[in-house]
């Protein structure tokens, strides 16, 4: 008893001491947490330092936006004015403060449709083409920002090419595509105004998956050989500006696996990496991501990662479901069975950093309907719509491979996409050897599209990654540490600059957000804006500059 009695006050003292220590500990930790929180919040502030508005009527065509990086943005749209068999397109150049610096009109052959665009070295290149029934002539408009001049090039390819890729290297326009279902490269010399087919590219049973201009005045062509064979290869060819092949590397794809999509890096780093999606069987859904550094000095082993191996890929599911998928995938992997979980994933871009590479892809669900009477390819470039608002455009990147005649049914019958439901964005980081280091994800709100288009993007800054997407009204922002730990999530409305104005409505069709340069994004869309003083409303196309500090 005594012992107990003596013990009781000691306990009290100890408890009091512990409580005191605990309070001190909590205060110290709280201070640390607050410091981290404050310092992080100070370093992840979203601001909108500039806005551009352009009056927009209901029946106006929407703008196509071309990023010129730090030089600003180029906007273009069909203004439906016809004269002498031509129709006018308006092109507006904005600087990085979103101030208009040049506006011009180009007269395009009336029957030509916009096919692609590119910005390179101070020039914007716009590509148009007549439909097959009208001869398939190609028009390239070369707009020089510094001199505020443009030049039109017109040519007709000797052979009928189904274009899927377009880029510019020095004074050469490079087109990738297919002639009679075999890959082809066409080069148009903008100085000499001559087109030629680059020899040695035609090959049966081969898919063209990427054409990309490198930082060292060369370009890559990426092919998948053996579409229906057991022995499949990924072929990386690098050409100089004159179309002379400098090097070709063939990388074996593991038996039983199929490459669905692939993108190459652009030699900002010395290594050429190829990242894409793989599956097995003849399904259109990917089973995972693959990566390989093209390096003839090593085994050139392709790294295959099934989606369940990624830490955050399945975050768009409820935790219980994600855990179940992971557990099942772990078991199947351990007994050598292929993964069961599959998803539609489109590759958006590869970025090269001092630590390695990053890859952005978007997960979506597609509902298809088959049509025997439809265009004989899986996706007609003139009707596959990367922007969501032009029935005939294709972006030179990153959707170029969506215009692959074999996509999205490389082995099956022609199919048309009925509806796309965007689900999540997945960002993967690879080291210099092409090994996966970490991943992050951003779950989208409910976004439905009539065709696949990019709806998310990211930038890295001060050791953090900011992933963004845009729905009808808000910019969705998620800030992660490199290992994928989320440190901030918020929704931000595009800001108006006139305090007398309020947003009445915003179109959910034609809106988006893209990484621009440095720590900037640009967000764009169409709004009905009300002036509360004048009691008037007007419709505008807007672009806001978004800064991440």
């Amino acid at each position: 008893m005594r012992h107990l009695r003596l013990q009781i006050p000691n306990y009290k003292l100890e408890i009091a001491h512990c409580v005191l220590l605990g309070v001190k500990f909590v205060i110290c930790n709280l201070k640390f947490v607050i410091l981290v929180f404050l310092s992080f919040n100070l370093s992840a502030q979203i601001s909108q330092p500039a806005r551009y508005e352009h009056a927009h009527k209901n029946n106006d065509h929407e703008f196509i936006i071309i990023s010129m990086g730090e030089q600003g943005l180029a906007l273009m749209r069909d203004i439906e004015k016809y004269e002498n068999g031509k129709k006018d397109w308006e092109v507006i150049f904005l600087d990085s403060a979103l101030q208009e610096i040049w506006s011009t009109k180009i007269a395009v052959q009336q029957r030509m449709n916009i096919l692609g665009h590119e910005y390179r070295d101070g020039n914007v290149y716009l590509v148009f083409q007549e439909p097959e029934s009208a001869g398939r002539s190609v028009g390239i408009f070369e707009l020089n920002l510094r001199d505020q001049l443009f030049k039109e090039h017109l040519f007709k390819p000797e052979l009928s090419i189904h274009f899927t890729q377009f880029s510019v290297l020095k004074t050469k326009a490079i087109f990738g595509g297919y002639i009679n279902k075999e890959p082809a490269l066409l080069q148009y010399d903008l100085n000499e105004e001559k087109a030629r087919i680059i020899p040695g590219v035609f090959q049966p049973n081969v898919d063209l998956v990427d054409v990309r201009v490198n930082s060292n005045e060369t370009f890559n062509m990426l092919l998948v050989e053996g579409r229906s064979n057991k022995s499949k290869k990924l072929i990386a060819r690098t050409f100089d500006a004159n179309g002379v092949m400098l090097v070709e590397d063939a990388i074996a794809i593991e038996e039983g696996k199929t490459v669905l999509e692939a993108i190459s890096s652009s030699l900002i780093r010395d290594e050429l990496i190829i990242i894409g999606t793989w599956t097995y069987g003849s399904t259109k859904q990917a089973a995972g991501i693959f990566s390989v550094v093209v390096d003839p000095f090593h085994e050139q082993k392709v790294n295959y990662y099934d989606f369940a191996l990624l830490n955050h890929f399945l975050d768009y599911f409820k935790p219980k479901r994600a855990a179940k998928i992971k557990a099942k995938a772990d078991w199947r992997r351990s007994v050598g069975k292929p993964p069961e979980f599959r998803a539609y994933l489109s590759g958006i871009k590869i970025e090269e950093t001092k630590d390695g590479f990053s890859f952005l892809g978007e997960v979506y669900e597609a509902s298809y309907y088959n049509s025997r009477n439809s265009y004989p390819y899986g996706s007609n470039p003139y009707y596959s719509n990367p922007y969501g608002f032009y029935p005939y455009g294709f972006s030179p990147m990153p959707y170029r491979y969506y215009n692959n005649p074999y996509y999205p049914t490389p082995y099956g019958s022609p199919a048309q996409v009925a509806e796309i439901r965007m689900i999540s964005s997945s960002l993967l980081f690879f080291d210099t050897q092409g090994k996966l280091v970490s991943d992050q994800s951003l779950k989208f709100p409910e976004i439905k599209l009539s065709s696949k288009e990019q709806i998310s993007d990211f930038i890295t800054h001060n050791g953090f990654t900011t992933m963004v997407s845009k729905d009808e009204k808000e910019i969705q922002v998620k800030v992660n540490e490199k290992d994928g730990t989320t440190v901030k999530e918020e929704k931000v409305k595009p800001e108006l600059k006139n305090p007398n104005e309020t947003i009445r409505s915003e179109s959910d069709d034609n809106t988006g957000i893209r990484a621009w340069f440095g720590q900037y994004f640009y967000v764009y869309g169409y709004q009905a804006v009300r002036d509360n003083v004048k009691k008037t409303s007007h419709d505008v196309f807007y672009i806001n500059k978004v800064k991440v500090d």
Binding site: E217, T238, L246, E248, L272
Partner: protein, 133 residues
């Protein structure tokens, strides 16, 4: 005389290994462009030895001592014999070559991953000058 550049992973076979061996069979090349270059090598031609991996540098010079013959490990492919010539005064890194405008057309800059490359006399002399600067 023609000039070449052969790439090697120093952990597998380095210039020091070549210096020790005096001569070696340069085999294991499995790239068509590289094979064509091996076939184009003549006895007495000089080749830069380039270390890949972390080094990424031209480190020395070898001499072609025997023109192409079938790769002993796979007759479909070609091999040559090279002999040790010299070690450069200081290694010339890929980054420093890339930073020189007049080297923009060098194969090493345009198609770095090609394992056997041709080098022009001007490029050869320039890299030599860089190594002695």
């Amino acid at each position: 005389m023609n000039y070449w550049l052969v790439k090697t992973e120093p952990e597998t076979y380095s210039l020091d290994d070549l210096a020790r061996d005096k001569k070696t069979t340069w085999d294991g090349v499995r790239n068509f462009q590289a094979r064509s270059n091996l076939k184009g090598m003549k006895k007495g031609d000089l080749a830069f030895v380039y270390h890949t991996g972390d080094e990424k540098s031209v480190v020395g010079i070898a001499e072609i001592t025997k023109e192409f013959f079938p790769d002993p490990k796979d007759k479909e492919w070609a091999a040559v014999e090279i002999g040790y010539k010299k070690k450069l005064k200081k290694p010339v890194t890929l980054a420093s070559i890339k930073s020189e405008k007049k080297m923009a057309n060098m194969y090493l800059v345009r198609a770095a991953r090609l394992s056997v490359q041709s080098v022009t006399k001007e490029e050869f002399d320039f890299v030599m000058a860089m190594s002695e600067a």
